[in-house]
């Protein structure tokens, strides 16, 4: 479930897929607008792969590997942000 990676100066590649649609608004100025939609209850949770710190190690994990269990996914504004 957790794939360890070594600590280094290079950071893990960010996995991007069809989840985010970038819309070209203006060809010559190349302005891109990202469309962000709220997800819906009763619908599949968007899958993702993410680097993480876990039990003293740096690992990579994938949400789909947690199927068969309940998952509590908690986003928060940042480490050391008081509450």
């Amino acid at each position: 479930m957790y794939k360890e990676f070594k600590a280094g100066c290079q950071r893990p590649t960010i996995t991007k897929d069809e989840g985010i649609k970038e819309i070209e608004k203006d060809g010559d100025r190349n302005i891109k607008e990202e469309k962000i939609n709220m997800i819906k209850v009763g619908q599949p949770a968007p899958d993702f792969t993410i680097p993480a710190f876990h039990n003293g190690k740096f690992v990579e994990l994938n949400l789909s590997e947690f199927k068969g269990k309940w998952v509590l996914l908690c986003f928060y504004p940042g480490d050391f942000t008081f509450v």
Binding site: I20, V71, F75, G78
Partner: protein, 153 residues
């Protein structure tokens, strides 16, 4: 996040895995764990602390705040089939209530185990009355359930 870590054993007993996510790097997660959180909870943070540095995942879940470059307090409950059953999103200054999260997980689990034949009314907690929707219950909830159940702890 320490409040969630504090309830981790209880969550594990409910077959729940926790993943926390912010835009901080895994190195900062380590520092936060080692220098602050580990002083608030018994041991280290027991669940993976994910690093979503450019907000890719936060955008998928609709909780990335591009103006500040951070993720808002979005909390999602995902069932064993990978379906989102519930979420709550707060602006950064107000923390969540883990009691309410645990209550909701228990309610979703009860409904799932009953295969949808039982539902949990407002303010339900384990041990409190559930309802079994059927044609005879239409218009008769007042005979089986009192508003005081929603009020009481």
């Amino acid at each position: 996040m320490s409040a969630v870590a504090d309830r981790y054993k209880e969550l594990q007993n409910l077959d729940v895995e926790v993943i926390s996510i912010s835009v901080d790097s895994v190195y900062v997660h380590k520092m936060w764990n080692d220098n602050e959180l580990s002083k608030m909870v018994d041991g280290d943070i027991p669940f993976p602390m994910g690093s979503d540095q450019d907000g890719t995942i936060g955008k998928k879940y609709g909780i990335y705040d591009g103006d500040s470059g951070v993720e808002t307090r979005g909390r999602f409950i995902i069932d064993p089939d990978g379906i989102v059953q519930g979420f709550e999103v707060l602006t950064p200054s107000v923390g969540r209530n883990v009691n309410e999260t645990v209550r909701q997980i228990k309610a979703f689990q009860l409904v799932r185990e009953s295969e949808g034949t039982e539902v949990t009314p407002s303010g339900w907690n384990p041990g409190k009355k559930t309802l079994k929707p059927n044609p005879d219950l239409v218009g008769n909830v007042w005979k089986q359930w009192s508003i005081s159940e929603a009020r009481d702890e």
